[in-house]
């Protein structure tokens, strides 16, 4: 009984170490380029934001009918976005986020 318990403990310890090793490898792979990935993702998000809000910002958008549907998806990030791109107050008249 005791040996079964200790075997289970050993197994647990082993799988914990294995998981740590796997995480370590992942960090070794991703770490040095973390910043580049995030900045690339941010540029993609910026583009998406501009496409979705194009019409509202005054850019004629033939697909506005469709992109308007996506507006709720960008709502949460809108405030942080306009602050980050250097516009201190909301650029949209009908949205007072700050």
């Amino acid at each position: 009984m005791a040996s079964a318990e200790s075997a289970a403990q050993r197994w647990e310890e082993l799988s914990r170490r294995w998981a740590a090793f796997r995480d370590g490898m992942h960090e070794f792979y991703v770490g040095p380029y973390r910043q580049m990935f995030l900045s690339e993702k941010r540029s993609e998000d910026d583009l998406f934001m501009i496409v979705v809000l194009g019409e509202a910002l005054g850019v004629p958008d033939p697909a506005a009918f469709y992109s308007a549907e996506l507006m709720p998806a960008v709502w949460d990030d809108f405030h942080a976005w306009h602050r980050r791109i250097g516009i201190p107050d909301s650029p949209l008249d009908h949205i007072a986020c700050c």
């Binding site: 796997r22 040095p32 995030l38 690339e40």
Partner: protein, 575 residues
Amino acid sequence: MGSLVLMIIGLAMFAAGYMVYSKYLAKRVYKLNENFKTPSHELNDGVDYVPTNKYILWGHHFTSVAGAAPIVGPAIAVIWGWLPAFLWVTLGTVFFAGMHDFGTLWASMRNKGRSIGALSGRYIGKRGANLFLIVIFLLLLMVIAAFAVVIKNLLISTPTSVIPTWGAIVVALLVGVAVYRLRWPLLPVTIVGVVVLYALIVLGNSVPVVLPESTLGMSPATFWIVALFVYGAIASLLPVWVLLQPRDYINGVQLFVGLILLFGSVLLATLFSAVKPDIVAPMFNTDLPAGTPSMVPLLFVTIACGAISGFHGMVSSGTSSKQIDKETDARFVGYFGAVGEGLLSLGTILAVIGGIKSVADWNEIYSSFGAGGVDAFVKGGGALMENGIGLPASLSATVLATMAVLFAATTMDTGMRLLRFVVQEIGETVKLKITKFPATVIVVVVGLGLTFSQGLGGEGGLRIWPLFGTTNQIMASLSLSIIAVMLIRKRRNPLPAIIPLVLVFVLSFWAAIDQLIAFTTPGSQDWLLFALDVIIIFASVWVGVEAVLAMRRAAKEPPEPEHEDAELSAVREDV
């Protein structure tokens, strides 16, 4: 037997350096404090500032600083005999590189993770920061030119490495797709990637690729250099996940495998092989080939990385300092990172002095300054691995050549990417917006111009190697002067920084002057290198004067309050 004894002495010196000297630095000089809030916690943004496990961070730090330089430098420098190279690598790592890398990490950590450039502004003055941009531009330019030539030489001298070298690019592309597009787990992908890489080495070994006399109207040397620059330009423009990231990763894994193979071979060959790896190289080479420059000061700039390197300080303060979890981890990451580089250099020295079969062979390889280099590493190391682990000599040589090429190539493409950023930054300061394509074209043209400055064989590339060393050491002395100023301000013992600072500065300045004379000597004039050298000398005088003034100011000012670092304003620095 000789190689094993040398290896044991070298390893013992590194171990003593880490266990004794770095402990002294940590306790008495840098006074590491476990409770100090490191930038990774204070400014944690999940991007640049991320508390990282010290072993992982050491891996990142070590693979970022280890390029082809710790192989190229020592492999050329043993021309003066094995003892000077061995001593400079071991003592240099223990008292210079370890202290410098650890110190820059600490200095940056105590300044909210700011880079050496920003620190020079704070401690030495604005002019120091301008100097930094000039030096970094030259350094990167020299890296890409010199490494293109190193790779070209290897591809020509070891034609079996052509398939694995270019095949590694395909492996990296597939690893990138497997991990990011297909979402396969990383570990099996890594194992398969490394196995495929070694399979390519075996394939390359049986199918050597020798280019014909003329390819597209170019000689093999010219063709490879142009091909490498084109590759570097494409690699530096692609999204990082496609090529650079998986390539750096596979190379990191390969670096550890390579180190184990090299040191394991020395041990096994001495213990079990019939052909012992005896040292064939002279202890001091008194019969130097014509044209070899004087050992002092050139030895100290030829072995740049592997003893002390300003580039390490850039990595320490650029990225590593922003990820340190606890201040006490700096000793392991910074000092032991330098030891890792020292190990690679020590392995190189063992390969080039113990792997070659006879004194006559050695003399033939080292027939002129710069002729030995990486080819000697490949030949000597190959023979060593044949004796040690039983790999056929040609296959071992292919393994080592591929290893050296991969290190050089990753440094080259990263260098081209960084140089593009520098060009864009310089453009911004003169109010000129340079987008990435024109910036890359500028980098390629200037790099090719430097490489071909002495002929289409790329002679200009390796000719500048000692200049690379000089520039690199000047950067190191700039970093050391910042550490010295900080220590004086805190009223701690500044000698561990000032002694290496003075030595490195004097030697690199002396080397720069020597080279200046050589570049104007009738028969071997080179006005491009002359101009670069003048800039370097100008910069080094500047550093010297600024640093002395800053140290005098620091000594006169009242001592810095104990908690000043912690109270500095926390400003995030873009990397």
